[in-house]
């Protein structure tokens, strides 16, 4: 698998405004600043509706911000061709979508989109990614939609990795998983980050996951980053009242481990 080395990400004064159903402008992000070093695992935590998903959509240009800029390894992504950008930034949306067909069909999809020859089931790069994502090889021939949600999540991860990104961005990767499955996925992400020198950014309200696997963390609430730093110090010594409340609220801390 060829890929880009771990990319750095720098988000500067990013705002995003949307129109609500009545046509009124609503600010979703109000000047977000965030710096992420290469080849580390960073978690953006915060309550639902705080702007995590919107931030994620800006990073691979599923949307463009109303103001501010985002730099990928020093280059403003607004100047990059979106198709090229999306090769370098692999985004996994919250609900894994499985195309009709087998798991192998799903993994080959990336290559069809690029009009490249897709790897066969015995391709060494493909097998490496499967192993990294802890997907047994005999799953390749199964219908992707018949798999459990946890397995679909892993297929989706493998599919994204096969594209060879330097930065992986995940939206609530554990929201549909039970606690053991979520913990396993967290370990897998850690392995990928270390072995591939991949930068991983995850948007999550699953505090347990963030505390266990993240090197760095940021707290996003009501469209602003209120705190950022090394994960351990952020979670052990929260400064702002809202992060203290968020860390103390059992509902939010547990939500990630409930099957929705």
């Amino acid at each position: 698998m060829k890929g880009f080395a771990g990319e750095t990400l720098s988000i500067e004064e990013v705002c995003q405004t949307r129109l609500d159903v009545h046509g009124r402008a609503v600010a979703i992000l109000r000047g977000v600043n965030l710096k992420m070093p290469a080849a580390c695992l960073m978690a953006v935590v915060g309550p639902s509706g705080g702007g995590k998903s919107t931030l994620l959509r800006l990073i691979n240009r599923l949307e463009d911000p109303s103001s501010g800029r985002i730099l990928l390894s020093g280059i403003n992504i607004a100047t990059l061709d979106p198709l090229q950008l999306r090769r370098r930034v692999g985004v996994m949306l919250q609900v894994p979508f499985m195309y009709e067909g087998t798991v192998l069909d799903n993994l080959q999809k990336v290559f069809f989109f690029r009009s490249e020859t897709a790897p066969v089931a015995t391709d060494s790069g493909l097998l490496q990614v499967l192993e990294l994502c802890q997907l047994p090889v005999d799953l390749l021939a199964r219908q992707a939609r018949s798999l459990s949600l946890g397995q679909q999540q892993r297929v989706s991860l493998a599919r994204t990795l096969l594209a060879g990104p330097g930065l992986l961005v995940l939206d609530e990767p554990t929201s549909a998983l039970d606690r053991p499955t979520a913990d396993q996925l967290g370990r897998t992400l850690q392995d990928i980050c270390r072995q591939r020198q991949l930068s991983i950014l995850m948007m999550t309200h699953d505090l347990r996951l963030a505390q266990r696997v993240a090197d760095y963390a940021a707290f996003l609430d009501q469209g602003r980053i209120l705190e950022t730093g090394e994960a351990a110090s952020l979670f052990n010594n929260p400064r702002s009242e809202s992060l203290k409340n968020f860390l103390a609220s059992p509902a939010d801390a547990l939500e990630g481990s409930h099957v929705r």
């Binding site: 949307r18 240009r61 979106p82 949306l93």
Partner: protein, 261 residues
């Protein structure tokens, strides 16, 4: 040709309208309802058809291309309007897209059939041009509604699939290919079904009409085959353009799915 048609006088029409009155009174005395609608729509039909009849007669006697083209244009305009009335969730730029697609599809099909194949002399001969174009536009209208309606529905339903594909590096065209495919299928189904059952389940109207007016059945059949082929092509081209242009209107030039407000 017209020599073999038996004349239908006004008295004959009064006689057949008596049947409508009998149906309406049956409905009334048995309290089934609908008699008001029955009478109203039958009156509308009579007035509208008589107006069309006089209009056609006028155009036939004027024998000049301008009124013929005007009629065709009005028919096209009404068709686009009707598509707009039928499709509830309209894509951005709906009327521009439907208008352009119908003009290309129906206009091209009509030109091909009337000028290149049948070879009308004069080229605007209203006796052929108006009814044939009417059939082409009428059928394409159904196809256009289905294509436009299905496309918006598919783009909304497949929203997750499309964004997943975009995340995996697909172009907007690749990401929406499945949605376009199912919308195209939906648009063509009526034409496909009509062709497959034609002659067995029902005798098509144009052919029946030609036979009634004394045309030799095999010639009437050949006309029916020709019009069906042209209608199918017109439906396909119209839907194709609606899907091609419509699909683009859901994306920005940066391969982003426009967010519904």
């Amino acid at each position: 040709m017209s020599g073999s048609v038996i004349d239908l006088s006004m008295i004959d029409l009064v006689l057949v309208y008596g049947l409508v009155l009998i149906s309406a009174s049956l409905a009334r005395f048995n309290r089934i309802g609908q008699e008001r609608d029955l009478l109203w729509s039958s009156l509308r039909m009579i007035v509208q058809l008589l107006m069309v009849g006089y209009l056609l007669k006028m155009i036939f006697t004027i024998a000049s291309p301008l009124p013929v083209l005007l009629i065709l244009l009005i028919m096209g305009g009404f068709a686009v309007h009707a598509v707009g009335a039928r499709v509830k969730e309209k894509m951005p730029g709906f009327y521009r897209i439907v208008g352009m697609a119908m003009f290309t599809g129906c206009g091209g099909a009509t030109f091909f059939l009337c000028i290149l194949v049948i070879g009308l002399t004069p080229w605007y001969d209203p006796r052929y041009l108006i009814p044939l174009t009417g059939m082409i536009i009428g059928n394409s209208m159904t196809g256009a509604s289905l294509a436009a309606e299905r496309l918006t529905a598919e783009m909304t339903e497949r929203h997750q699939e499309i964004e997943t594909s975009l995340c995996l590096g697909a172009t907007s065209r690749q990401a929406s290919a499945e949605a376009v495919r199912s919308a195209f299928r939906a648009a063509l189904i009526p034409s496909i079904n009509a062709m497959a059952t034609m002659g067995i389940v029902f005798l098509p109207g144009m052919m029946t009409g030609q036979i009634l007016s004394g045309t030799e059945p095999l010639l009437a059949v050949r006309y029916q085959i020709a019009i069906m082929c042209v209608i199918t092509a017109s439906v396909a081209v119209t839907s194709f353009f609606i899907l091609l242009l419509g699909c683009r209107s859901f994306f920005t030039s940066s391969h982003q799915l426009r967010i519904k407000q």
